[in-house]
Amino acid sequence: MKKTFNLEDLDCANCAAKMEAAINKMDEVKSASVSFFTQKLTVEAEGDVTDDLMKKIAKVCRKVEPDCRIIL
């Protein structure tokens, strides 16, 4: 399943690239894409994109880019 989320305060393109790489490394995530320009995160998972998974993703993102927030 694929789901798209808005991002807030994503300030730099390099951070977007780093967030994308970090989320893609997660086992539960099939593919993820962070668009700096549309300020959007698209997550594709094998099963449902659950709230639990999104919490984990948010945690990973906080590590890479603490300023950026995923709007759930």
């Binding site: 390099n14 690239a17 320009f37 590590k63 890479v64």
Partner: protein, 615 residues
């Protein structure tokens, strides 16, 4: 500017003033250091804070950290002014990047300003304003002049003209009346109409288009992926080089450590790949935006990249290069004036439901007196036999003529020929053919002028018709009498014979050609306004049915790719030069920070040009 950007600007200005003051004051020693630390703290405290926080999170090669190290290092080697200036320019660069990106994001959003804000629905005879999502299928919308059409609907009352410019890039108003379809996102110009909702908002044309454009940045181009990979390697490499540069030479030579440390610091200043990481995706984003402005939707940066290298363009004929509607193209009368021949034919065909009959009647245009017919028979697979004004008229193909021994002859013009005989005597024939689109010849010519080497047309029609169209349009190759599966095979053969690294594009109308669209490097569907199937199946969507848009899209993609290449080469070259000069001790931190910020500013300004590539 946003609040955050304004705050940043104030800090930069305050710090610049304080820096000048610090410079002017005749202080020495600790006092001098303290005075320079004030502007440094004003402009750089957040960078220092972020770097500390990110180290705690295990992010070592973070640009905040690198900037902190570089500037703190500069304080250690007594280069106070440099330390403040580096931080200052770094922040100027960040601010500029944020403003420039925000601007282009906005202008692309403006290009795609097709989302309707509200819909007026008639409920129990009252007009209620709701958000488009709340309007249900089957409900009646009230659309006033000047309003955006909120959902895909059919007119039930009233007439009007609509402008589809936001969707197709064409501003020619279209007349619409009862039972005509209205497409969401177009603008109602003149009349008040009532219309029945055909599909929910989430499935309407406007939602599909917006979704498509927003998702376009997901599919990354090869050059974008290259930059991301490069950035991941570049920063650690430069940092390691900096460490080696600071540590090794003082060990083996008697030069002072501080000299090599200050050289190493210049490395850290230019260790951020920001210029590339921002400007390359920004260029693609701009290119896709520019294309959508002329009504060409490109579903991903990868397709934009492929489009720039297109070498072979394969067209489907019907509906793509031709209108797909049949009209009378010639009336060849042997005995009577042509108008009379057409008149007789129209009377004979007036009751027939065959599409060819319909277009003969349409070509006649005037009133047809059905009272002139006394007898009528349809001859399956041959044509019509009718008694008109007391004469036995036959209208149909050669076989029908043979049944009465009329001396017919084939026509030299391509198309479907309807022969006419009266009382067994051959009178002449009417030719019916598919008309070529007005801009089809232009489309081929323009594609040639942008460097497309090979243009091919595939069609299920017979050889004669295909060759005639091919010659009229100046196509390189024509393949006729193809079944749908033959088209796939033909495209596969063409794919094998094209040069490596170039792309093959297939242009179709999106109906029945999904397999070919997906087989080609770039599947292009046209006339997509109102055709969901086409939007789904294709990689590139031409919103209206003008094939000439394709050449403009290719030109936009070429310009975008040129900008991307310029930025990559330019940024890397400057960085390499500064790295070398820095290592040799010829470039100080001043030059390094100018190179870093300056390159980023220039690269961003250059990528913004992609957005204005529509011409």
């Amino acid at each position: 500017m946003t609040k955050k950007q304004k705050r940043s600007l104030v800090r930069i200005l305050a710090s610049a003033v304080l820096l000048v003051i610090a410079w002017a004051l005749p202080l020495e020693g600790v006092w001098k250091l303290l005075v320079f630390l004030v502007p440094y703290a004003v402009v750089g405290w957040d960078v220092l804070w972020k770097s500390l926080r990110n180290i705690a999170h295990g992010q070592v090669f973070d640009e905040n950290f690198l900037m902190s190290i570089a500037t703190i290092g500069a304080f250690f080697v007594d280069e106070y002014a440099e330390a403040v200036a580096v931080m200052l320019f770094y922040q100027v660069g960040e601010l500029f990047q944020s403003v420039a990106v925000g601007k282009s994001r906005k202008s692309i959003a403006a290009l795609m300003d097709i989302r309707p804000d509200s819909a007026t629905v008639l409920r129990d005879g009252e007009a209620v304003t709701v958000s488009p999502e709340e309007a249900e299928v089957g409900e009646t919308l009230l659309i006033k002049p000047g309003e955006k059409i909120p959902l895909d609907c059919v007119i039930t009352k009233g007439t009007t003209t609509v402008n589809t410019a936001a969707l197709t890039g064409e501003s020619l108003p279209l007349d619409k009346t009862v039972s005509d379809d209205l497409v969401s996102g177009s603008v109602n110009l003149s009349g008040v109409v009532e219309a029945r909702v055909k599909s929910p908002f989430a499935e309407s044309t406007v939602s599909r288009i917006l979704e498509l454009v927003e998702n376009a940045s997901e599919k990354k181009a090869k050059s974008e992926a290259f930059i991301t990979r490069f950035a991941r390697v570049y920063t650690p490499c430069v940092v390691i080089a900096a460490v080696l540069l600071a540590a090794l030479p003082p060990l083996f030579t008697d030069q002072p450590f501080s000299e090599w440390l200050s050289r190493a610091l210049t490395f850290l200043v230019i260790s951020c790949p920001c210029a590339l990481v921002v400007s390359v995706p920004l260029s693609f984003f701009g290119g896709i935006g520019a294309a959508s402005k002329i009504g060409v939707l490109i579903k991903g940066a990868n397709y934009l990249e492929a489009l720039s290298g297109v070498d072979t363009v394969v067209f489907d004929k019907t509906g793509t290069l031709t209108k797909g509607t049949f009209t009378v193209s010639a009336v060849h009368s042997d005995v009577i004036p042509p108008e009379e021949l057409l008149d007789i034919a129209a009377v004979a065909e007036v009751y027939s439901s065959h599409p060819i009959a319909a277009c003969i009647v349409k070509a006649h245009g005037g009133h047809i007196d059905k009272g002139r017919i006394t007898e009528i028979h349809e001859r399956a697979g041959q044509g019509i036999e009718a008694v008109i004004d007391g004469k036995t008229i036959l209208a149909g193909n050669g076989k029908l003529m043979d049944t009465v021994g009329a001396k017919w002859h084939p026509c030299h013009e391509p198309g479907t020929t309807v022969h006419i005989a009266a009382d067994g005597v051959y009178m002449g024939h009417i030719v019916i053919s598919d008309t070529v689109k007005e801009d089809a010849a232009d489309a081929i010519r323009l594609l040639k002028s942008v460097g497309v080497r090979r243009t091919v047309m595939l069609t299920g029609d017979d050889e004669k018709v295909a060759q005639a169209v091919g010659q009229a349009l100046g196509l390189d190759e024509v393949h006729a009498r193809l079944m749908p599966e033959d088209k796939v095979r033909a495209v596969e053969t063409l794919l094998q014979s094209k040069p490596v690294k170039s792309a093959l594009a297939f242009v179709g109308d999106g109906i029945n050609d999904a397999p070919v669209l997906s087989r080609a490097d770039i599947g292009i569907a046209m006339g997509a306004l109102g055709s969901d199937a086409a939007i789904e199946a294709a990689d590139v969507v031409l919103m209206d049915d003008k094939p000439s848009k394709l050449a403009r899209a290719v030109r936009i993609s070429r310009k975008t790719m040129r900008i991307v290449r310029e930025n990559i080469v330019f940024s890397l070259a400057i960085k390499a030069v500064v790295l070398v000069l820095g290592a040799l001790g010829l470039a100080g931190m001043w030059l390094a920070v100018f190179a870093d910020v300056g390159v980023m500013v220039l690269a961003i300004l250059n990528s913004v040009r992609a957005l204005h590539a529509a011409k």
